[in-house]
């Protein structure tokens, strides 16, 4: 397997959508290619960081204000 072929299957590997046979091939490639191992690990980390950090915070007071505005209009039939 070449690095290009590995990259084409990177998402499937990250999302756990590969067959056991394909997984073995990918693992074999990883065992001998440090670059692809870095790409895999850092791509996983990229996703994890974005998933676990709130970058657009909705402060409680603003949230309450928007919530009240929405519900008050819904109660009036919008």
């Amino acid at each position: 397997m070449t690095c290009k072929e590995f990259l084409a299957l990177l998402d499937d590997l990250i999302d756990d959508e590969v067959t056991p046979g394909m997984r073995t091939e990918l693992q074999t490639h990883l065992g001998r290619c440090g670059h692809c191992e870095v790409v895999l690990n850092t791509t996983r980390k990229t996703i994890e960081i974005y998933r676990s950090h709130e970058i657009y915070d909705l402060p409680t007071d603003l949230r309450e204000r928007l919530h009240s505005a929405i519900m008050s209009r819904c109660k009036k039939g919008c």
């Binding site: 290009k4 974005y50 657009y56 929405i70």
Partner: protein, 213 residues
């Protein structure tokens, strides 16, 4: 009808379906529950697309009001959340069009780029690299980095990886094919990885560069 698989193997309706039915029956408090459940997510999605806080506030309100008005049209063949996100994405794109008068805004914009399709930065990251930054500094890095993605990549990454929609739900929400979502997701992930690398490299040790074979 959206369903979840119970332990016993029986199909049970998604809890949102019961709330939607109550709203349809005139119980506004059930809608209050749905708004509380999803307001943060909708605000985040709107902010990611519009990149403007005031627009995101307006989009969030408009999306919930529109969903309330159109609740009869909700068929139940997709999740309520997915249906709601679709409304919010459309509202966000409309808001962007208004702001950039005369300029076409769509999720197909600016996707003709090869950036990130071949990883170039192959140096490893520090273990738990985010711990090298304060919370506010890290948030700024993450915002700046994701804002630099083409809109069509950014929306796919946000829905699929941040908000946890499936590939199929993301495709349905954006009116894209599943292969188009998969292709954009890979490019988005690789571009973000590439751009974050400059912040998250190991601070000491060998800085390795090169290209994949």
């Amino acid at each position: 009808m959206p369903t979840i698989q119970s332990i016993a193997g029986q199909i049970e309706p998604h809890p949102d379906v019961a709330l939607v039915e109550r709203v349809r029956g005139g119980d506004v408090s059930a809608y209050d529950t749905l708004v509380r459940k999803y307001e943060r997510q909708l605000f985040r999605i709107a902010q990611h697309i519009t990149q403007n806080r005031e627009d995101a506030e307006d989009v969030m309100q408009d999306a919930f009001l529109k969903a309330y008005e159109k609740l009869e049209q909700f068929q139940g063949n997709s999740k309520f959340y997915t249906w709601l996100v679709r409304i919010a994405v459309n509202e966000s794109l409309m808001r962007l069009r208004k702001r950039r008068t005369g300029k076409m805004v769509s999720i197909d914009e600016d996707i003709e780029t090869d950036e990130g399709s071949v990883p170039r930065d192959l140096a490893d990251w520090a273990p738990d690299p985010e711990q090298n930054y304060g919370q506010a500094e890290l948030a700024e890095i993450l915002r700046k980095t994701i804002q630099g993605l083409p809109p069509g990549f950014r929306i796919v990454f946000v829905l699929r990886d941040v908000e946890g929609l499936s590939t199929e739900e993301t495709a349905e929400t954006l009116g894209l094919s599943v292969p188009a979502v998969k292709s954009r997701l890979l490019r988005a992930r690789l571009q973000l990885r590439e751009r974050l690398s400059r912040y998250f490299h190991k601070r000491k040790g060998l800085m390795e560069t090169g290209t994949v074979k």
